[in-house]
């Protein structure tokens, strides 16, 4: 695959799949205000994914638009990081939670938003004008997401014994997947290697963990490669839901 197309798709698919998982909270969040917040964040990410997928389609030059890329690719063609495709709960509990763990969603939100903030901060100065424009726009949105999610991390982490235990458990589950945030290569004239974001991300994350009285888990050697199309067992299920309409009614539009 063309290196630039690959770079854009990795970001586009990460926004898309992250949005899809967040949208599962619509109507189910712990409080109405948070329902609105998660839906709004999902909507921003979907908008960013739309712009990026449209651009990816142009780079590819095969006549595919945002919808075809979002809904009609096979699992191995998606280039999102594995972190965002994981379900909203570590296990499928039969406790009436509907498979949604607010702690896990909150930790993931904060981690991805901080990463997107750093990445978009770099990309807004990209020599690629289209990507720079999308990044500058997205930056305004994701820094707000990061602020919101970080506040929840502190509130629940430094909260009750119960909320802290849940947040710590969520962090422990997600931590090995964080490695992939720094895994993609850079492309000259397009964007930096994600590894360039690592030092700042880890420093700011450590500060947040300290404020939230959470303990950073030991670093894992695991190297997920969703960015190469190698996904977890959850991705197929997610796509089955997300693609259902286009698979059942090919070419269906509003």
């Amino acid at each position: 695959m063309d290196a630039k197309l690959n770079y854009v798709l990795r970001l586009a698919d990460t926004c898309l799949i992250h949005s899809q998982r967040l949208s599962e909270w619509a109507g189910h969040a712990p409080v109405l205000e948070e329902d609105l917040a998660l839906s709004n964040i999902a909507l921003d990410l979907l908008g960013q994914a739309r712009a990026l997928l449209t651009y990816a389609g142009q780079i590819e030059g095969a006549g595919r638009d945002e919808d075809q890329l979002a809904f009609l690719r096979e699992e191995r063609d998606y280039r999102n990081i594995v972190l965002v495709e994981l379900p909203n709960a570590a296990a499928s509990p039969s406790d009436g939670s509907g498979g949604r763990d607010f702690a896990l969603t909150t930790v993931r939100n904060a981690a991805v938003a901080l990463w997107l903030e750093l990445l978009c901060g770099r990309l807004q100065a990209s020599a690629d004008i289209e990507l720079a424009g999308i990044a500058a726009k997205s930056l305004k949105e994701v820094r707000y997401h990061r602020q919101h999610a970080s506040d929840w991390v502190v509130r629940l982490g430094d909260g009750t014994a119960e909320s802290q235990a849940r947040m710590q458990a969520a962090l422990n589950v997600l931590w090995p997947y964080v490695n992939e945030l720094f895994a993609a290569e850079g492309v000259d004239g397009v964007g930096p290697a994600w590894s360039e974001l690592e030092a700042e991300w880890r420093a700011r994350w450590a500060t947040l963990m300290q404020e939230a009285t959470l303990t950073l888990p030991r670093d894992s050697a695991m190297q997920p490669r969703g960015i190469d199309g190698i996904h977890s067992e959850h991705m197929g299920h997610l796509l089955a839901t997300m693609q259902h309409l286009q698979r059942a009614y090919p070419g269906g539009v509003w």
Binding site: A37, N40, A42, D44, K137, K140, E141
Partner: protein, 155 residues
């Protein structure tokens, strides 16, 4: 063609989500120009995922139909900022019950502003949620008159 007349028509198109102000007052209209067969309107979307974007384009086309073919072009960069909301737009928002942005979009968003209630002018207000009924607003309430109100977030 009379571009001034087209401009006047365009200035009357309300924002579909916040009909109290027009698209021009919201600061999303970048340009209006004549083309060989009609007019072209250049718009900057407010939020990436704003679901009103398509509706806005349709409203603009309908409002300017008499001037021939209407081309609506979306221009993402430079990114829209609440700094572009006009002074008239800010007044109308306030009167409508939505507190306009209290600082520049460039300023840090870390600080939660202290707002005055748009209904009773009390300074005793609190933020209920960073998000609201649309992507561009947060939800607040007045502790004195107990009424909820919205704040147009600076970006």
């Amino acid at each position: 063609m009379n571009l001034d007349s087209a401009r006047a028509k365009l200035a009357a198109v309300p924002d579909p989500e916040i009909p109290a102000i027009s698209l021009v007052e919201l600061g999303i209209v970048r340009d209006l120009r004549e083309t060989a067969s009609g007019v072209e309107v250049v718009l900057t979307p407010t939020y990436s995922g704003c679901p009103a974007t398509e509706l806005i384009a349709d409203d603009v086309r309908a409002a300017l139909a008499e001037f021939g073919d209407v081309t609506v072009t979306m221009q993402r960069a430079p990114a829209w900022s609440t700094d572009w909301i006009t002074p008239e737009g800010r007044e109308k928002l306030q009167r409508y019950g939505i507190v306009p942005p209290q600082c520049s979009g460039e300023q840090a968003i870390r600080i939660v502003p202290s707002l005055r209630c748009p209904r009773c002018d009390s300074g005793k207000t609190e933020q209920l949620s960073r998000f609201g009924s649309t992507a561009c607003k947060s939800t607040w309430r007045c502790i004195e008159c107990l009424e909820p109100f919205e704040y147009f977030k600076p970006i």
